[in-house]
């Protein structure tokens, strides 16, 4: 892992391994970032190749200037920092603007955040104008307004442009020279373009052909003077060698043809045509011709002069070659001219031009027929280059003898007589020209001379082309470097710098450009560039699959390590093979056909930041030392830019960190509790600083997880499930070690091995892998000098890697969070203390009411409820219980606030049970548990959910009858002496109250049992009435009362009802009640009217009663007439609820209560109870309420009863009790008796003509009635069909057709839900006419109804059916 932080540990640039925290104890490197070195920026500026100045706008002068600026302006720095831009600029810029005004405009742009770039002219110390290009950039500074200017001296570039101009001028001069040659030549010369139009012509041509030069130019040469052959037959243009020269790129010399003059005459010509080159392009043809008419005449005379003539010819041709060569600007151009001239001038069959450079021969161009021998060594060209003299091979035999190796490559037919001639210049050999000839002709001296001359000219041309190319390249490089500097100075993003750099190099100085840097995992590829984007992504993929070997002794890794450049001028296949990882890699690299490579370090301040590798592939170009120096220059600039970008990035990061910390502090300073603060903290950290953040807070038992946040909900779920499982000794766990060392830990790159070492088991490992941590930071949360917890920042899916900056930020975060948590805890403690004081005050106030509450609670359950409720309230406990001892067991009466499992265990437990309550009862001693530790020590349970509390025995008569238990969730809960005293007093009160309740309850149970046994069983069913009875004993803890009721059915169709109340409680009252009830029943059964019954009862009571008083009401109802007679002895008035809803208290028949003193006659009252009306008899417990006049109770009862008017008796009971008592247990016994007269009328009664068509309407009525009665749909259907069948029978069988009669339907439903349907006819039964048909009716009726009775009489047939209807749901 390399420290990638600029300015870090200076010379230590090599790889450093950082092990994961927790993986290897004691070996983890703990890193602390240093401060940003002072003067870092200045150092960067100082060594920049471009002049850099920083202008303080407020002061109006430069504050910084680097060495390059000193050189540029020719002023020492001490001087520069005293002046501003005005002093080093002319008053006006070349475009006429005043310099000051123009400069202000650019500076304003820079201040707006732009990076203006513009041309400028500066003045140096000598007053000389320096053309510059300037880049402005605002420099962030808290106190000053600073603008940085980087000034590029563009004089170099201008110079390159000048060279290009000069070369252009040379080319123009050459053309001028050519035209002067044209003018002075004796032969006719003209040029045509590729369209055969004349482009130029010389005066000789004009003279011979008869057109003026002006007339010739633009005309068609072939049409004008070359249109016919000597005999006059037409000469097609397609056969014309002049026209073909341009197409074929070949020169030819032709004799025996004629040119036609303007006047129509012709003359024999000999002409030479050669392609006209412009650069590498053939732009036309040059034709040189001569009138041979005189020569033919004087042929013989001139034959002697043939040699001279030939020499002249060669000289002329050389002239053409010269002019053609002079126009060439590149070596390939030279080759092209040389080839064509070799063929034309010397009649070679094939020509090859090779360039000789640094001892290497390279074929530049070739032409003619067949293959050429090439640069092979041994070979003629190589020998010629080496020897500096021509090499001649005269025959195939000589070929075989001299170059056997080369010969193997060539066919027999290709072994032509050959001459390889060096191309010399000033003693140097620049190349070789190899010519092959068709016949074994021997070149004469003249030819050899011409070849030598041509070779010399070619040499010159090559030299010139090389110079030109070099000049051009140098110019290009200058431009290139200037461009690169511009790009770099305008960029502040590291990645952009790198990408721009790579992009810039392709294709101008490389086919491929790759930028690498060292990374913890090896060598990273930062950028790849190629002119084809598809190839780029392919190469990126390849570099991922085959990353550079970080340990390779040479190549990228070595350059990155050593900072020294590497150049491979020629990449051989052996190198490729050696470097390839496997066959596939080899194949891959071979397809690139890389031929040359160089790798240069990108360095700054002595450190290597990256390496640029430039590769030549398909273009076939090769790098040399010059290229390497150029690349190094480029890399230096890139290094500065990169450093600059990093500096800027750091600056920005510092700012961001500061604002982040400010935000965190703000969030944590809010008055929140610990959990809330932690939630805020992790919420801020994720996702800005981490993908996953966990916080643990130390407690005496470990380091439990306190907060988790993750950007990805799934990861959060995993983390929440995984991290609480975190166990292990502190020396091995990173989290815990952070606590002891109070040192942050950084793991830049998490490996799977670390995860394995960290995981206690496979499941944990799988969980960790699912979280996918890439890089982690662990920091302690520090408060008051010690670590109170730890925080982990984990980078996962974002792929971010933490560095020293992140570590520093996290550490600061840890400090602030620790402080915030500590504050929150203090706050919580303060609050708790305040709350405790408040609770104590409340307890004192409560104490006074507890006694009263316990005193008034009568039942055991109620006492238990009070004990638990008051105890919890007084102590501020979370849970409380009270238990009673039953032999060796305890039974809990009430438990509140315990976790379910604990509550279940408490329900019933042995005295030996290992918890405080059992122990307190067993030992009859208080158990105080003031801390989780003491709990642990005493009961061996380390993680009790409620680990503090108290258990006190309830002692009566020196014996523990039970105990009370109260618990707290706090790990510490002290019991002050005052509190202990209070609780012991409370326990004593509880014991007494419970004891008392136990006693009361025992008595109450006996009385209740007695009373219940005396009350009559549910009354028998009495036709015409329904009776409902209710007896509600008062709540527990209250003595059983003496309320009673009775229903007596007399034989004569009368029914008597009574309700009585014996004043007093307990067993005695119950006994009196039993006697009174028996007596009343006896008197009633004798048929006595109510007045007499009560009178006799009063006498009886006077005899049997000791001290109690009793009241009674008795009513006697005649079921036939509805007459009700009644009498009362001190009892509240019975109530009649009419069917329609009216209510009526029966206030007559008053008499005194039954007492020992009684002896009076009691009067009767009378009323009528109609069908559907209900009579209510009740005891005063129903209507009496404390602090309320009795009239109010009577009013409430009447109201409730009216609401139940018309309802069945049971429903009246329920509704009345519900309305008056609700859910509450009555304070006194309540007896209620409801007697309702059953409605006697049939609900539906119809008599209709016994005809089939009468049935449907009747069914309709019945259906409506049943629905109105609330009968369910299914039951309705059953009743309808049953009645339908009975009616059908009557219609079909009762009457003869001539004596139509009637049929009667009568359906009623009683209170109890019994439905009775009756169908009668009044005719004589006729036997069914068909057997099958009516056979189905009766079974259907029987299936549908509960009972079916059929009575056939003389007067008709009566079908009676019953069905129990379910009450509506």
């Amino acid at each position: 892992v390399a420290s990638s932080r600029p300015g870090g540990s200076g010379g230590e640039g090599g790889p450093r391994d950082v092990l994961p925290a927790g993986a290897l104890p004691g070996q983890a490197r703990i890193e602390h970032p240093g401060e940003l070195p002072e003067g870092r920026y200045e150092a960067l500026v100082e060594h920049a190749p471009d002049a850099i100045v920083v202008l303080d706008l407020d002061a109006g002068r430069f504050v910084t200037a680097n060495a390059a600026a000193e050189r540029l302006f020719g002023l020492p720095r001490e001087r520069l920092v005293q002046i501003g831009p005005t002093e080093v600029s002319p008053r006006f810029q070349p475009d006429g603007r005043p310099s000051r005004e123009a400069a202000d405009g650019y500076i304003a742009l820079a201040l707006q955040g732009e990076t203006p770039r513009f041309d400028w002219v500066h003045l140096d110390a000598a007053g000389e104008a320096i053309p510059c290009e300037i880049n402005l950039l605002r420099v962030p500074d808290p106190t000053r307004t600073l603008v940085r200017g980087s000034i590029i001296d563009v004089r170099d570039r201008r110079r390159a442009e000048e060279v290009a101009r000069v070369l252009q001028a040379e080319r123009d001069a050459a053309l001028e020279q050519l035209s002067s040659i044209l003018a002075s030549a004796g032969d006719g010369i003209y040029g045509i373009d590729r369209d055969d139009r004349v482009t130029f012509a010389n005066p000789a041509a004009s003279r011979m052909l008869g057109w003026s030069v002006a007339e010739m130019v633009g005309g068609f040469a072939h049409e004008r003077w070359h249109h016919s052959r000597p005999g006059g037959e037409p000469y097609p243009q397609s056969e014309c060698p002049i026209c073909a020269a341009a197409r074929k790129g070949r020169s030819r010399t032709v004799t025996g043809e004629v040119f036609w003059r303007r006047d129509g005459g012709s003359f024999p010509v000999e002409y030479t045509c050669a392609p006209l080159l412009h650069g590498q392009r053939i732009v036309g043809t040059v034709c040189v011709f001569r009138d041979t008419s005189q020569r033919i005449e004087a042929e013989i005379a001139r034959r002697d002069a043939a040699a001279q003539e030939a020499a002249r010819l060669i000289a002329e041709r050389l002239q053409i070659a010269t002019s053609a060569l002079s126009a060439t600007m590149s070596v390939p151009d030279v080759a092209m001219v040389a080839v064509s001239q070799g063929v034309d001038l010397l009649g070679a069959r094939r020509v090859e031009l090779l360039e000789y450079h640094d001892g290497v021969l390279t074929t530049v161009g070739a032409g003619g027929d067949g293959p050429t021998p090439g640069p092979d060594d041994p070979g003629p060209a190589a020998d010629a280059a080496r020897s500096g003299g021509p090499v001649r091979i005269r025959s195939a035999a000589e070929w075989r003898e001299r170059y056997p190796a080369l010969v193997r490559r060539l066919d027999e037919g290709d072994l032509l007589p050959t001459i390889s001639h060096p191309l010399p210049l000033g003693g140097r050999i620049l190349g070789v020209m190899t010519l092959g000839f068709a016949t074994a002709q021997v070149l004469d001296d003249l030819d050899l001379g011409a070849l030598g001359s041509l070779a010399q000219q070619c040499g010159q041309a090559i030299e010139r082309a090389r110079l030109y190319e070099a000049e051009q390249r140098s110019g290009e490089r200058q431009t290139f470097l200037a461009e690169a500097s511009q790009l770099f100075s305008g960029t502040l993003e590291e990645q952009t710098v790198i990408e721009e750099l790579a992009r810039l190099c392709v294709p101008r100085i490389a086919d491929w450009c790759v930028v690498n840097a060292l990374s913890p995992s090896g060598v990273d590829t930062l950028a790849v560039a190629h002119s084809d984007p598809a190839l780029v992504s392919w190469a990126q993929e390849a570099s991922r699959r085959y990353p550079p070997d970080p340990d390779a002794p040479a190549g990228v890794a070595e350059v990155l390590r050593s900072g020294r450049s590497e150049l491979i001028e020629d990449i051989t296949d052996e190198m490729v093979t050696a470097a390839a990882r496997d066959q596939e890699h080899l194949k891959l690299v071979r397809t690139l056909a890389l031929c040359s490579a160089m790798t240069v370090p990108v360095s700054s301040g002595g450190r290597t930041l990256a390496a640029i590798t430039l590769l030549m592939g398909e273009s076939g170009r090769r790098y040399d030392e010059g290229d390497l120096r150029f690349a190094e220059d480029l890399a230096r600039r890139a290094g500065l830019a990169l450093d600059n970008a990093r500096l800027y990035a750091e600056e920005r990061r510092e700012r961001r960190s500061a604002s982040f910390l400010a935000e965190v502090s703000g969030a944590l300073d809010a008055p929140l509790d610990v959990a809330e603060r932690l939630e805020r903290l992790v919420g801020l950290v994720v996702p800005r600083l981490a993908d996953l953040c966990t916080v643990r807070l130390a407690d005496p038992y470990g380091l439990p997880l306190a907060a988790v946040a993750a950007a990805d909900p799934e990861r959060e779920r995993i983390a929440r499930a995984l991290y609480p499982r975190f166990v292990g000794p502190p020396e091995e766990a990173g989290m815990a070690r952070v606590l002891t060392t109070v040192q942050a830990e950084l793991v830049r790159e998490v490996t799977d091995e670390m995860l394995q070492a960290y995981s206690p088991d496979q499941a944990f490992l799988e969980g960790l892998r699912a979280l996918g941590p890439r890089s982690t930071i662990l920091v302690p949360l520090i408060a008051r000098g010690s670590a109170i917890g730890s925080m982990s920042l984990i980078a996962a899916e974002s792929g971010r890697r933490y560095d020293d900056h992140d570590l520093a930020l996290a550490e600061e975060l840890g400090r602030r969070a620790g402080l915030a948590i500590d504050n929150a805890r203090l706050l919580e403690r303060e609050r708790a203390a305040r709350a405790e004081a408040e609770a104590a005050r409340e307890r004192v106030a409560r104490l006074q009411s507890i006694g009263a509450a316990l005193g008034s609670a009568l039942g055991r359950e109620e006492v238990a409820r009070v004990i638990v409720a008051e105890g919890i309230a007084a102590l501020g406990a979370t849970a409380g219980a009270v238990a009673l001892r039953r032999g060796d067991e305890c039974v809990t009466l009430r438990a509140l606030g315990y976790p379910p499992d604990l509550a279940a265990a408490l329900e019933r437990f042995p005295l030996s049970a290992p918890f405080p309550l059992a122990e307190a009862i067993r030992l009859a001693e208080p158990v105080w548990l003031e801390s989780a530790d003491s709990w642990w020590a005493r009961f061996g349970e380390p993680r009790a959910p409620l680990p503090t509390g108290l258990a006190l025995p309830l002692i009566v008569g020196g014996r523990a009858i039970g105990g009370i238990d109260f618990r707290f969730p706090q790990r510490e809960r002290a019991f002050e002496d005052t509190e202990r005293a209070f609780m012991l007093a409370f326990a004593a009160q509880c014991a007494q109250a419970l004891e008392r309740a136990e006693r009361y309850e025992a008595e109450h149970r006996i009385a209740l049992t007695l009373q219940r046994s005396l009350l009559p069983p549910p009354p028998p069913t009495i036709a015409g009435v329904t009776v409902a009875l209710r007896y509600l004993p008062a709540g527990e803890g209250i003595e059983a009362g003496g309320d009673w009721y009775d229903v007596v059915a007399l034989d004569d169709g009368r029914v008597g009802v009574a309700v009585g109340d014996v004043v007093g409680r307990g067993i005695e009252a119950a006994a009196v009640m039993g006697q009174l009830q028996s007596a009343l029943r006896a008197f009633a059964l004798q048929g006595e009217p109510p007045g007499a019954v009560i009178t006799r009862l009063a006498r009886f009571a006077a005899e049997v009663q000791q001290a109690s008083m009793a009241t009674v009401a008795y009513g006697l109802l005649d079921l036939e007439s509805g007459e009700l007679r009644y009498a009362r002895a001190g009892h509240p008035p019975p109530l009649i609820v009419r069917h329609g809803g009216d209510t009526e208290y029966l206030g007559e028949g008053r008499g005194p209560p039954l007492t020992a003193l009684a002896g009076a006659d009691y009067e009767e009252g009378r009323a009528t109870l109609d069908a559907g009306d209900a009579l209510l008899l009740y005891s005063d417990g129903l209507i009496e309420r404390r602090r309320e006049v009795i009239d109010e109770g009577l009013r409430r009862l009447a109201q409730a009863a009216a609401g139940a008017a018309g309802a069945p008796a049971e429903e009246v009971c329920d509704r009345v009790l519900g309305a008056l008592l609700g859910d509450r247990t009555p304070g006194d016994d309540v007896a209620l008796l409801v007697l309702r007269r059953t409605p006697l009328q049939p609900s539906i009664h119809r008599r209709v003509a016994a005809r089939p068509d009468a049935l449907a309407p009747l069914r309709g009525e019945l259906r409506r009635w049943l629905r109105a009665e609330g009968v369910s749909e299914l039951e309705t259907q059953d009743v309808l069909v049953a009645c339908g069948e009975a009616l059908s029978n009557a219609v079909e069988h009762a009457y003869r057709e001539d004596e139509p009669g009637e049929v009667e339907l009568w359906v009623s439903r009683d209170d109890g839900g019994l439905l009775v349907a009756s169908v009668r006819d009044f005719g004589r039964w006729r036997a069914p006419t068909g057997r099958a048909d009516r056979g189905r009716g009766l079974p259907l009726m029987e299936a549908l109804m509960d009972a079916v009775d059929i009575v056939r009489e003389r007067a008709g047939t009566h079908v009676s059916m019953r069905r129990r209807i379910e009450p509506p749901a």
């Binding site: 089939p1252 749909e1273 259907q1277 069909v1281 059908s1288 189905r1336 299936a1343």
Partner: protein
């Protein structure tokens, strides 16, 4: 007099589907039977009688449907009944054992599935 029972007809290929709505008692049972036979003459396959919409049926209806079944059986044509569970008369049909005499489907689709040429 308003019609007590209403019959609507659909033809499904050779199968005739008659939907019976309303009530059938002794006053109209014979008429309903005649109507069903008339309706069935429109097709040559099975007759499906859907009773889901019926509100009242009694033994008169059972007699009528038996005569329809016999009439169709003579022509070699099956009769199917449909009555959806929860329909007012479904319980009665089951109680009377009608489902044992004639196939009783819960839906028209089920009945169509069970007859040829559906």
């Amino acid at each position: 007099m308003t019609e007590l029972a209403r019959i609507s007809v659909e033809q499904h290929g050779e199968v005739t589907l008659a939907r019976l709505a309303g009530e059938v008692d002794m006053s109209n049972a014979t008429h309903v039977a005649a109507q069903l036979l008339a309706v069935a003459s429109g097709g040559s396959g099975a007759l499906i009688v859907d009773l889901t919409g019926s509100e009242y049926l009694d033994s008169a209806w059972f007699r009528a449907i038996e005569s329809v079944a016999q009439g169709l059986a003579r022509a070699g044509r099956p009769l199917r009944l449909v009555c959806a569970p929860g329909a007012p008369t479904r319980g009665l049909l089951e109680l009377a054992g009608m489902d044992r005499m004639l196939p009783l489907a819960a839906s028209v689709e089920e009945a169509l599935d069970g007859v040829p040429d559906g």
